[in-house]
């Protein structure tokens, strides 16, 4: 047993704890969103919060995502630290204008920042159809002023959410709903779990091929890497980006310069997906080190379909990653 006491914590509980701990430590932190108070949140992330923190700090709002984000911006201007919940991250779409035009540009235009967090469940695999399954990061990728976080592990979910709440800028925090109750880790019961924004993490080391990924795809990629190791003896490095913006180019480039091969895996559709930016940066900074084309394994270019057969086809699978990795290794 380690000297630090730990407790098995799910990804969801890690998020709840991050919110609780920040709210306990700093009374300027508060939450607003739909059904987060009386009901405790659609995924029960904020269960018990209303009782503990009261209605001033756990605010049930009307169904109005633009107004939720707007209020968060105004409160941030006044020195509060708002955490806005989108019931599903798909419902960030009606707040698009408010995020892109008000929150993201605020500091640049006026000198007054908008340090707020917008968090919500993203991602497919839970049989939730086209409107409760999206990965929305690329909608916001070309918007300077925003930060974006997409944790895969419980530890990172907790540590990055705390860092996001403390961050001076608007942070979009994507929680993968498929991981909420499936990912469990031993987390320290005491002391601060805090993970700075902008640092990728090597989930699995290797020298033969680099996989850059994030969110739920970290685990599929790691499984694929394990298989390639066991069956082919090649060592695939899996990098979990954790933060999408600012992007940890340094870690990516260092790895690619070492392995000479890069595979990018993400759950969003291919065209216009986040892999493009990563490819561009690696081309710029590690082109000469590349021994093979950069490849992408992503969802197909469609909405997220509902039927299990279709959704399984839609999502990138371990098999897809293995075969792309093998192709690259053999190149």
């Amino acid at each position: 047993m380690a000297s630090v006491e730990t407790r098995e914590t799910t990804y969801l509980t890690a998020i709840r704890e991050a919110l609780q701990e920040e709210m306990r430590a700093d009374e300027t932190v508060f939450m607003l969103g739909e059904d987060i108070g009386v009901y405790g949140g659609a995924f029960k992330v904020t269960e018990g919060f209303l009782e503990e923190f009261g209605p001033d700090r756990v605010i049930d709002t009307p169904i109005s995502e633009a107004a939720i984000v707007g209020a968060a911006i105004g409160a941030a201007h006044m020195g509060l630290k708002p955490v806005a919940e989108m019931q599903f991250i798909d419902f960030i779409a009606p707040a698009f204008d408010m995020i892109v035009n008000f929150a993201a540009k605020s500091r640049y235009r006026t000198g007054i920042g908008a340090g707020l967090v917008i968090r919500g469940p993203c991602g497919a695999g839970a049989r939730s159809g086209p409107f409760h399954s999206q990965s929305v990061e690329s909608y916001f990728a070309n918007v300077p002023g925003l930060k974006m976080v997409a944790p895969a592990r419980a530890y990172d979910a907790k540590g990055l959410l705390r860092a996001s709440i403390r961050d001076p800028d608007p942070v979009l925090f994507f929680e993968h709903k498929f991981l909420y109750r499936r990912i469990k880790e031993e987390l320290p019961t005491e002391g601060e779990v805090l993970v700075p924004l902008g640092e990728a993490r090597t989930h699995r080391p290797g020298n033969d091929l680099t996989i850059v990924t994030y969110g739920a795809m970290v685990f599929k990629s790691a499984d694929a890497a394990d298989r390639v190791a066991a069956e082919d003896g090649s060592e695939v490095e899996v990098i979990d980006l954790r933060t999408l913006r600012p992007l940890d180019t340094k870690t990516i480039v260092e790895s690619v310069r070492r392995t000479g091969r890069l595979l990018i895996v993400h759950e969003a559709p291919r065209f216009g997906g986040f892999a493009g930016e990563i490819t561009a940066q690696v081309c710029e900074e590690a082109f000469e080190w590349l021994d093979a084309p950069i490849r992408r394994v992503t969802a197909i270019d469609t909405p997220v379909p509902y039927a299990p057969t279709l959704e399984d086809y839609y999502l990138p699978g371990e098999e897809d990653i293995v075969s792309a990795a093998r192709w690259l290794l053999a190149y």
Binding site: T61, P62, F271, T302, P305, S323
Partner: protein
């Protein structure tokens, strides 16, 4: 059309009001039977869905309209062929009135390849032009905006057709809902909007979501008339809907109908409704739209207890068959995931769908001019 506001006490306990005036005069015995069958079918089909949900046959979530069936049915029944309707989350009865079959609904929830969405989307998200049905999408408030376009096409073509839609009290707070109402009013479109004041929006009471007391006042923001009805009284709903539809058809524009009703179950299957005060549930249980209509039908000689039981038995039998048939149908073939993204089939075919396979790559490997390039490079790199 006159703006009326009839509020009934929660515990009024009485049956359907026996008025036979206005549009109700046009309802004959057969209509009464149809209304009853639709009410019962709505409830029974949802119960069936709940059963197969518990058996793990429903792929996603399941939302019920228990206690609100009368609003959906009364409205759906008031529409004519050629009219269009866009349901919201709890308006199954209106779709059934429009001609949607239980099979269709079962297929949607169980994601069958035969479903109206071909397994690509769920619940009531189907658009069926032949039946005049516009499917909503999940983001609330949006379908009214789209329905405006349907109504606009009626107006442009000088067709006396009408559009009808539903909106939750919660959904009425969304920006899109407002924009949709505002545009319908500004363009004087032939639209009827039912505002379902069912006291809840997921786990939040309407009183916390809005400071509005008289929901008909919402119409003030748009300059259109509003009428409030007992949403659990199918005849009253039908009457108001028929009047509003006639008004829209005559070119006099939008009407808002506020339905005073109550959501008798949690938001969805996963919601045990623990936050709801017992008294509220009990009071509204006494005002069940189906039970009170049964009493009315028997009391006024439209039906007997026996004839009503026969309707229920017939529905149950039909649902047995439908459920068996649908559950025997397969999920869509996986490759269907790629179809009909675009209107040009060539385009769908050309999209690099592939992940692992990537056939093009193999060609690349053989075609690649590495040898030459290696040389160029080396000489340059020096």
């Amino acid at each position: 059309m006159q703006v009326t506001r009839e509020r009934r006490s929660l515990a009024r306990g009485s049956g359907i009001s026996p008025y036979q005036d206005g549009h109700l005069k046009t309802l004959d015995r057969r209509d009464m039977r149809s209304l009853y069958r639709l009410l019962w079918l709505t409830r029974a089909l949802e119960e069936r869905l709940e059963i197969i949900f518990k058996q793990g046959q429903v792929v996603g979530g399941l939302y019920r309209s228990l206690g609100q069936e009368a609003t959906a049915v009364g409205c759906g029944y008031a529409l004519s062929a050629g009219d269009w309707i866009a349901p919201s989350i709890r308006d199954l009865g209106a779709l059934l009135a429009r001609g949607i079959e239980p099979h269709d609904i079962l297929r949607q929830y169980t994601a069958r390849g035969t479903s109206l969405c071909a397994g690509k989307d769920n619940t009531n998200h189907f658009t069926v032009p032949e039946l005049g049905i516009l499917g909503p999408i999940s983001p609330l408030g949006t379908q009214l905006c789209v329905l405006n376009g349907v109504a606009l096409s009626f107006r442009t073509r000088r067709e006396p057709r009408v559009c009808f839609t539903f909106q939750g009290d919660g959904a009425s707070r969304t920006g899109t809902s407002h924009e949709g109402l505002a545009m319908a009013a500004a363009l004087n479109l032939p639209i009827v909007v039912v505002l379902q004041h069912n006291r809840w929006s997921f786990g939040t009471p309407s009183t916390a979501e809005a400071a509005v007391e008289n929901w008909a006042d919402v119409a003030g923001a748009y300059g259109v008339p509003a009428v409030t009805v007992d949403g659990n009284d199918v005849l009253q709903v039908y009457d108001a809907a028929a009047q509003a539809i006639a008004r829209a058809r005559a070119g006099d524009g939008m009407t808002i109908i506020v339905s005073e009703t109550y959501r008798m179950l949690g938001h969805a299957q996963h919601d045990a409704q623990r936050y709801v005060p017992d008294e509220e549930l009990i009071a509204w249980r006494d005002h069940d739209p189906i039970r009170s209509f049964e009493t009315y039908l028997v009391e006024f000689g439209f039906e007997s207890e026996t004839s009503l039981a026969e309707v229920r038995a017939e529905v149950a039998a039909a649902l047995d068959v439908a459920t068996d048939e649908v559950l025997a149908e397969p999920y869509p073939a996986p490759g269907e995931a790629r179809s009909r993204v675009y209107g040009n089939a060539e385009l769908d075919a050309a999209i690099p769908w592939t992940r692992g396979e990537v056939p093009g790559y193999e060609g690349l490997v053989t075609a690649r001019p590495s040898a030459t390039r290696g040389t160029t490079r080396q000489s340059q790199g020096a």
